[in-house]
């Protein structure tokens, strides 16, 4: 076991992938000499050379579109989009080409691309640097979408994503880049939990809180606070946003009878809506209350000084927990 930041855990995963498989290429803006604006690709150019760690022109559609051509030729490109809000110029290539070429060609063309996206808010960034675009990709068949919440998952899920024969959109919460955790770098990839599985990160009895990414930590804080209040919350880290591991979620909700889903992306047509519907379809007769969502507001990402009002904090989660438990809560008097 090694204590590593998520940034270093990701860096080690990229290094292993490059070393183990000559078809792996790293591509993106500033990924070479600089090592990426978050230093996730630090040192990889020096070790593996400019043929494999490619500083590209500043053109997101170009980065993903040329990665498609490289995949045609047998490569496994790992693309870095510099920030979440800059993935939109590449949206067409991701949803129309990357996601669909395997289907269109009835399996003749594989698109084993990994699109890494430094993601979401809470770091006081400028406009377009804190967005949560995951729902756009979850809605697109042919893509797998994952979001990591700790250094060990970051390491192993990135290696799994690169090894996967399907395209994976890989969300890395930048708020967690410098948070440390234990990573067993020597552990075989085969022993790591599969990328598609959700994980119960804290067992509990009274309600299930489903979340992902940096919000896992907030949900755990809420669970800690609830425990002081005699309420036992089960916290599930989705890990995979597409497909969603409903087996794990439904098993939990059937026990607790109550569910709160929280994420920092806006709620409308978001992952939380999807999960709430999935829970309702599977657990209707076990539910003691409708599943509730606690999400970012349906607004463009607000200015940094106000982002704490946008990001669901432990109090907003606890308020929803009180509501699913039918306990007094701060919205008690409000019209619903």
């Amino acid at each position: 076991m090694t204590e590593l930041t998520m940034a270093k855990a990701l860096n080690a995963a990229l290094g292993s992938a490059l070393a183990e498989d000559p078809s792996v290429l790293i591509m993106g803006e500033d990924v070479g000499t600089l090592g990426g604006v978050f230093r996730i690709t630090d040192g990889l150019l020096a070790t593996h050379g400019a043929g494999r760690v490619i500083d590209t022109p500043l053109a997101e559609s170009g980065i993903v579109g040329t990665a498609v051509g490289l995949a045609y030729r047998g490569f496994r490109p790992v693309v870095e989009i510099q920030f979440d809000g800059f993935v939109y110029p590449a949206f067409d290539q991701i949803v129309c080409q990357v996601a669909k070429l395997h289907y269109r060609t009835r399996g003749a063309v594989r698109m084993p691309l990994t699109v890494r996206i430094p993601w979401a808010g809470g770091v006081g960034a400028a406009e377009h640097h804190s967005e949560s675009p995951e729902a756009y990709f979850v809605h697109t068949s042919g893509l797998r979408v994952v979001a990591v919440s700790n250094p060990s998952d970051a390491h192993f899920m990135l290696r799994q994503a690169i090894a996967c024969d399907d395209p994976v959109v890989f969300f890395e919460p930048k708020r967690l880049y410098h948070v440390k955790g234990e990573v067993d770098l020597a552990a075989p990839l085969a022993d790591a939990p599969p990328m598609g599985l959700a994980r119960v990160v804290r067992p509990g009895r009274d309600a299930t809180v489903v979340t992902y990414g940096a919000q896992v930590a907030t949900a755990l804080e809420a669970a800690e606070a609830a425990a002081d209040d005699g309420v036992s919350l089960e916290v599930i880290d989705l890990r995979s946003l597409s497909p969603v591991d409903y087996d794990t979620i439904a098993a939990s909700v059937r026990r607790t009878g109550r569910a709160v889903i929280t994420h920092e992306a806006p709620g409308e047509a978001g992952v939380g809506a999807e999960v709430a519907a999935g829970i309702t379809e599977r657990c209707f007769h076990h539910l003691e209350a409708p599943p509730l969502r606690v999400t970012g507001h349906d607004i463009p990402y607000p200015p940094a000084k106000l982002e704490r009002h946008h990001l669901p904090d432990l109090d907003r989660i606890l308020d929803a927990v009180d509501r699913v438990l039918d306990r007094p809560h701060s919205l008690a008097g409000a019209a619903q």
């Binding site: 053109a59 559609s61 170009g62 040329t66 030729r73 067409d92």
Partner: protein, 378 residues
């Protein structure tokens, strides 16, 4: 230093300066740029190009007819553009990889697409021509310009062939696109990437004057070929209705790319004689006189005239070529009429390369639903 736009040539509405070696009357003329790429091209090669163009036109007319008869959902006619498609595609090697748009039926034909493959996309049976690796040709791209980036990426892969344990090759990737596509970000990004990495890729822009109803001047105030040098890519502007000019230009471009000199760009100035697709009505936006003017520049008629004048094509050979084209059309019609739509549950196949539990559950549920109908019916 100030750069001013050149006003020497029209972006495309008329011929302007283009390289030509066969005139519309079928006269062989010399062009200083193209001649070095054409010397050992004899009449036999020209007869072959003629044959391919005749086949392409016959295929195209059959496609339109089948659509009108309700057998195809859509067809994108290429009549008038046979020379650019055949001239450039015939200059390729089998190992080169082609990324075409939806209008390149002639290119697909030259690359060996079967009659089934030629119509299955337009019949709505499949989304692609089939396995792109079988003939190193991607299926028709509908998203305007997207394929140009794929070609450049593929070319970057050629540069790295040895990384995958292969030997260094001089294969080339080719992107086909239209004048409208030249406005797309992807095409411009493709040129930036190609130039920056010196990728072995050839851009073939078929300037057929119209992007549905929009004339070239809506896309550009300069000839399209004039843009490429600003990206660091040399270009040629050729008569796209002159198959030999297209063949020579492509040989120049391919040789550049093969030799490691980097990308090259060809603007082939041509004309789409028919509608944009069978769903389009060009009489709403095109002047009939323009159509007539271009009819006089027909790419097939001029080669026919040249070969006849040289005594390289007698009545018998011409009849043989026509009969061959008719056979292709008959084959296309036959596969079209006998097409059997695949099992509906196969729509769930190959969405993912690896098992995907959610989709598998969806497939089982739909299978059970369909089974219910069969039981009810029996």
């Amino acid at each position: 230093m100030t750069y001013l736009p050149s006003t020497t040539a029209d972006p495309g509405t008329d011929m302007g300066p283009v390289a030509q070696v066969i005139t519309p009357d079928g006269e062989r003329v010399a062009d200083a740029t193209l001649e070095p790429w054409l010397h050992e091209v004899g009449d036999d090669v020209l007869v072959g190009l003629y044959r391919d163009m005749v086949r392409t036109r016959r295929l195209d007319r059959e496609g339109v007819a089948l659509q009108r008869q309700g057998q195809l959902g859509l067809w994108a006619p290429c009549e008038g553009q046979e020379a650019v498609q055949i001239g450039t595609a015939r200059a390729l090697r089998a190992a080169d990889f082609v990324f075409p748009s939806y209008r390149e039926s002639g290119v697909q034909l030259v690359r060996g697409a079967t009659p089934t493959e030629l119509i299955q996309v337009w019949r709505g049976e499949e989304q692609s021509m089939g396995d792109p690796f079988a003939r190193r040709t991607a299926g028709p791209q509908i998203i305007i310009g997207a394929q140009t980036l794929h070609a450049v990426g593929y070319a970057m892969g050629i540069q790295r062939a040895e990384a995958l344990g292969g030997v260094a090759t001089d294969d080339v990737a080719v992107a086909y696109f239209g004048d409208g596509a030249s406005s797309q970000g992807d095409v411009n990004e493709a040129m930036v990437f190609a130039a920056s990495f010196g990728a072995p890729v050839v851009f073939v822009c078929s300037n057929n004057q119209w992007a549905i109803s929009e004339p070239v001047r809506v896309q550009s105030r300069t000839p399209l070929a004039a843009r490429a040098p600003a990206f660091g890519i040399p270009s040629l502007r050729v008569d796209g209705n002159d198959v030999l000019a297209c063949f020579g230009a492509m040989r120049w471009a391919l040789e550049r790319a093969r030799s490691g000199a980097g990308p090259a760009y060809i603007e082939a100035v041509t004309y789409r004689m028919g509608p944009h697709t069978t769903a389009d009505d060009p009489t709403r936006y095109r002047d009939p006189a323009e159509l007539e003017r271009w009819r006089g520049r027909d790419p097939i008629a001029r080669v026919h005239a040249l070969l006849r004048a040289r005594g390289a094509l007698d009545d018998e050979a011409a009849a043989d070529i026509a009969a061959d084209a008719d056979r292709l059309a008959a084959d296309v019609r036959e596969v079209c009429l006998s097409y059997r739509t695949r099992d509906p549950l196969t729509i769930f196949d190959e969405v993912y390369a690896e098992p995907h539990a959610a989709l598998e559950a969806e497939r089982r549920a739909y299978a059970a639903y369909l089974d219910g109908f069969e039981e009810g019916a029996s």
